[in-house]
Amino acid sequence: MKWIRWRGLGAFVLITAIVSVFWFLVIDRVIEHYIEKAGTSMVGAKVELDKADLSLFPLGLTLTRLQVTDPSSPMRNALEAGRIAFLMDGVNLLLSKVTIDEMSVEGVRFNTPRESSGAIEKAAQAGPEEEPFLTFEIPDVMEVLKKEELESLRLASEIKGRIESDRLKFTEALKGLPDEKKFDSYRERLNALKTRANGPAEVLSKASSLMALKKEIEADAANIKTLARDAGKTASYYRERVEFALGAPARDVQRLTDKYAITPQGLANLSRLFFSGELIAWTDKALMWRGRAERVMKAYKPDEGVEVKPRGNGADVRFPERKPTPDFLIRKAFVSVNIPSGDISGKVSNITGDQQILGSPMSFEFSGERLKGLDSMSLTGEINRVVPGQPSDYAKFDVRGYRIKDIDISKGSSMPLALRSGVADLSITAEIKGDGLDAGLKAGLSKLDLTAGRADEKNPFLKAGAEALSRVKAFGLGARASGTVDNYSLSVTSDLDNVLMASAGAVIAEKMSVFRAKLTKEINEEAGKKLKDMRSELSALTAVKDELDSRGLLTDRLIEEITKSLPTKGFKIPGF
């Protein structure tokens, strides 16, 4: 039997050719689908690609119109790239490593409109809690008191209860100590012993009885004085607490005034109310994209060991590599970005999730000059994961001579503020080390045409404030976010604070004094009775202590009397 089937060789070639042609015909669509699916999963909103084109000789890929939806605004693209083209290292690709020496990213635009929604799920998103803008209306004092727990009431009840409990204990203990009757009996015994003695034997007997009586009274005196000392200490402690509680109404007034009324402290940071909403939104957005970028980086994990795959796909076991190289690496990506002011260009280096293997951090630099409505801008930064346990990122963004046109700073609040025109210089720095965030913003705005407030505003403060703000021609703004990426605090300072303070200080002072007076009256009335009860209870405790002191005094007198009645020094009574 002949074992070789030569026609089979032809069939094999034919089958292989058919499969290869089919593969080549569908591979573009497969790549497109893969990029869309993986991107959508990472971003959390639709990632769409118009076309992917794989070339074999040389091995490269060209992607046309990549759209990345903004998850927080599904009708807009966070990013859109017109064309992405790169060549790949074929040998490395066989080793499951994507190495791209140079990538060209052209026509990048941000925040572009979409034709259809890019949302992948309709999750009910709770919007960021808007910081309430001061309405400059004094709330009703009675409403405030209904909502708030008063420290004065709480302290008065609590301290009164504790004093009462201790007073009862001391009163109970007092009952077990010698009282008037007992002292009378001591005196009777003493008087009996003081009568003239007949003969030395009786002298000795009386002296002995006197000593016994003295000892008895001394024991009682010790008990009385111990309890008196305890009662004194307790009363003294409660006196301090009562003093503290008596100051509580004033503290309540201050706290509620700070919270509900317009204080100089509240006014001193009004610019926070204007700008913090936008700044927090920007910071959160930047941190969100950083988090998503990190997920992309973590998608490539080069650690040795068993990498478990979905069920049915087994697990890939990784072994040490002779020359370790990152699984995914773009050495240089040249990016051109279209912004409304013109084109800016930049370079991103060492894009990889395996920085510890590469030994270099990812860095980026973008710049643009002589742009429309903008003198210059630059963005530089670094994402460092070379030591995975010590991640560190920084970015610096500078804009010079930005011509402002119609920017609404606070639309919905009771004090609308809009910059109609002006020039801004802006500098932002941000650094994240581990979880720690430290970011700062400095801005200088000049040649301003600013509109503030509503035309039909009745509120005197808002009216005065709006008029003052409308006259502002330049101001500086500073902001600092510090803390952790999950929980940071934002501080904002601006020259606008002084403007507002100067314009509306008198209106505020008057309103504040009315609110404060009403609040003081109501709190004093409400807390007055309870505080009085608390003081009465303290008086009752002090009375117990006084009673103990007076009994102690009686015992002292009796002891002194006995001591005087005893024979003089040198006379020794047998048995003592």
């Binding site: 089979g8 697990a315 076991v317």
Partner: protein, 173 residues
């Protein structure tokens, strides 16, 4: 299912050499047990086409063994994991891991390694056992069936003669 059984009986009843059938089934076992889309199966297909093995048996066997492999995947994963994490073989695996050809074959995947090792280990015993069973089948069962009156009557029909002519023509093609 009925078609597959009929096809199997048809193959067994044909005049093909038992070794051609058993070798075809053995190749199909490798192709079916291991992950289908892999470069190794291109080589298996090449062998199945170039070596004079029964192609019907190969394709039928590939389908059957692929179905069987779904149930055996956990077993293959265990075998593969044991082999790939076997300290004595670590040097060999590391060498292979650094060679593109083996990486393309995805040898470091536990299911691939387990199924490939199992099918290679079973290859020769499977060929010998299948050879033996086919011969026994033809000697005893087929001979008995051929002698039955029903089969005699069936073979005497015009339909059967037409089928035989078609089969003869097909084998010559």
């Amino acid at each position: 299912m009925i078609n597959s059984v009929a096809k199997l009986i048809s193959i067994l009843n044909s005049e093909t050499e038992p070794s051609q059938i058993s070798l075809a089934f053995a190749f199909s076992m490798v192709a079916g047990f291991t992950p289908f889309f892999g470069v190794h199966n291109l080589f298996v297909l090449f062998l199945a086409l170039v070596l004079r093995v029964n192609l019907s048996a190969f394709f039928l066997g590939t389908a059957a063994f692929s179905a069987l492999a779904y149930g055996l995947d956990p077993l293959f994963h265990t075998i593969g994991l044991k082999l790939l994490t076997w300290e004595a073989m670590r040097g060999v695996w590391t060498q292979m891991y650094n060679m593109a050809v083996f990486r393309v074959a995805r040898f470091n995947n536990t299911i691939f390694m387990g199924s490939f090792a199992a099918s290679i280990a079973l290859f020769v015993p499977f060929v010998l056992a299948a050879n033996f069973l086919i011969r026994k089948y033809r000697l005893h069962i087929l001979a008995f069936v051929e002698k039955t009156r029903v089969m005699q009557a069936w073979k005497a029909t015009g339909v059967y003669r037409a089928y035989e002519s078609y089969r003869d023509l097909r084998s010559r093609l």
